[in-house]
Symmetry: C2
Subunit: 370 residues, 2 copies
């Protein structure tokens, strides 16, 4: 059989450290589960800018289009804060999402039993939490035109004389395809979808609501669908997150709501994500996997980073790109066991203590548990 | 002395019930503190639509421009869900905000000691919480043009054939004036401002960050200023909300983040807000006061609503419109005492029990405590 092709883009900050642990896991699956991976490495974000003057070289972009899956660490850091908007590290990531057309961003928020006391929320509110936020990732205000900062000098009332513009723009087709993903995912979970927007103040939100409802009524009437305003959604996520199964929302609301949801689980260092596009000729979706956390420049290079989010992102790759659901579950169980044994990177170290480990020791423990 | 003029707009759902309790409080201050109020009542939202076919009659709008302060209950309800966007109840509220130019929306999130166990967050995370979210209220994607839903029939790739558009638009002047309010408020509190946007993906966010920084550097260098991406902000509000003092952010982020923050305090039924504009000829700011909660149609008319948010909104009116800070504090203390005595509307009834009361009994208890 042909090997699975992987492009690894560690990126900036803690990206390279956590990705090194994923490589150990990949090696384990090659050695012990008869899988073959054809792995290439390249640069993205600030690391790519330092070398090529752009946060994503065309060659890297082309390679990303060819492989079965891209694994990304994290991008960004204070070193790049003053760069022009067009070459900021984030633009590399946004280019990958846009050109690979990765419209469906899956962000599971699960609370691991061993970490239930670690959340800022009460145990009884988050224990057993298992929700999935599906964020539209290729459209909306992230990519809409017109955009930019312009002079507004003819307006004497505008002290400062500038205006900043972004455009929230969604087509019905963009909404329908992500809605379909939401219903498909819900069928394999709790069979419930909650769609979030601000249809009470935004016309794009009205279109969102109508198109999600249309897909439901015409194609998935058996899945339970509800609609919620995004402000109420933020509130309900804090009040009682277990009322949800799958949440589907747009690019910007998804960015904010998924970060709030992430924090419910106690540590951002635990949460993986998958960004999926249309199926390629080989039947696999275009796909990029990355932890929800950022590049954490403050702790980079110190062996303090938690590699679990990145390792669980690889588990999602096994499941969604390679149809290796059993292997994915095996990896997830290994992570659970290590956590249950009290093994803790600094971000997971709560008042109840545990065995402190470094990034690389955490990777070793997970491989040992496999 | 001339009386203070008030326009009371109870609105829809629980609005009339909670506003009836505010009227009791107003009467108490007239009878016991030598204040005089000239109170008029009118319709807004669905109630106005039912009578006039518009969610805000021109006559009401004109009156709102004249009075010292508007007190609003809540707008909206399922009865109005199928109305055209232009006459939805929310449009009445948005018209008031826009035409009165109420750019500074103050949303304090305070955790009352008696309710600290009531939050879904752990007591040690929220006890003593006292932050202020300052939301820009007259611009951004709420009001930006172009906007609407259009046909997109010439685009064969767009299944469904429609496109929904909204525009996020901020001028430097709009940002500067709300930034000034933030720094002024911070000076009377913890002297710290955190500004939130998505400058990493939105140019309007870059302008926001630059202009807030400009106001800081040129006019308020003594106030501590930090910047945070709004997704991280949502996360930090859940993780450790007490790190903040004043948060300043745009209309849409403010809508979402303030609802998340509201939930930290345990009950939305507790939280007031003030929306302030420029100073009028008499030196008072244009002002509208309203609870953060909505019209709660599910419990309307049953005496279950908590009137405290609306009563505390009137306390904000005493402070910000009438310069009656002592009276405002007196009212806030009365609310605290009633809560400390265990008096509870249904939304405040936790496992630890308490004395159950109706909306109107809660109002009576607060007046008695005054
Ligand atoms: C890094 C940034 C561009 C990105 C986003 O805003 O989408 C991040 O916050 C995320 O959620 O993946
Ligand atoms: C009712 C609605 C228009 C309003 C808003 O979105 O601003 C509400 O959610 C609020 O926060 O005051």
């Amino acid at each position: 059989t042909t090997p699975y092709s992987l492009l690894i883009l560690p990126g900036d900050g803690i990206g390279p450290e956590v990705m090194a642990e994923v490589v150990k896991v990949i090696d384990w699956f090659q050695a012990n589960r008869g899988m073959r991976f054809d792995v290439s490495h390249d640069l993205v974000g600030g690391a790519a800018y330092d070398k090529h003057g752009t946060p994503l070289a065309d060659k890297t972009m082309a390679r990303a289009q060819e492989v079965d899956a891209v694994l990304l660490g994290a991008v960004g850091g204070p070193k790049y804060d003053d760069l022009d908007f067009s070459v900021k590290p984030e633009r590399g990531l946004l280019r990958l999402r846009k050109e690979m057309d990765l419209f469906a961003n899956l962000r599971p928020a699960q609370c691991f039993e061993a970490l239930a006391d670690f959340s800022s929320l009460k145990r009884e509110v988050v224990a057993g939490l298992d929700i999935l936020i599906l964020r539209e990732l290729t459209s909306g205000v992230y990519f809409g035109e017109p955009r930019g900062i312009h002079d507004d000098n003819n307006n004497p009332e505008n002290e400062g004389g500038r205006v900043g513009i972004n455009t929230q723009r969604y087509t019905s087709g963009e909404i329908r395809r992500v809605a379909r993903s939401a219903f498909e995912l819900a069928k394999r979970r709790g069979n419930k979808v909650c769609s979030m927007e601000k249809a009470n103040v935004m016309e794009s939100g009205i279109l969102w609501r109508e198109e999600v409802q249309w897909v439901h009524d015409n194609e998935y009437p058996e899945v339970e669908l509800s609609h919620m305003y995004a402000d109420n959604g933020a509130m309900q996520l804090v009040r009682n997150p277990r009322q949800f199964d799958v949440i589907v929302t747009d690019n910007l609301f998804g960015d904010i709501l998924s970060d709030a949801a992430a924090m419910l689980t106690g540590s951002l260092g635990m949460l993986p994500s998958a960004s999926l596009g249309a199926k390629m000729a080989n039947g696999r979706p275009k796909a990029l996997y990355e932890p929800v956390h950022g590049s954490a420049p403050d702790i980079a290079g110190q062996g303090k980073a938690n590699p679990i989010a990145c390792i669980l992102s690889f588990a999602m790759a096994l499941r969604y790109s390679f149809d290796q659901g059993d292997a994915a579950t095996e990896l997830e169980r290994a992570v659970e066991r290590v956590l249950a044994d009290g093994v803790r990177t600094p971000d997971l170290m709560g008042p109840e203590g545990g065995t402190p480990v470094s990034t690389s020791q955490m990777g070793d423990r997970i491989v040992a548990a496999l």
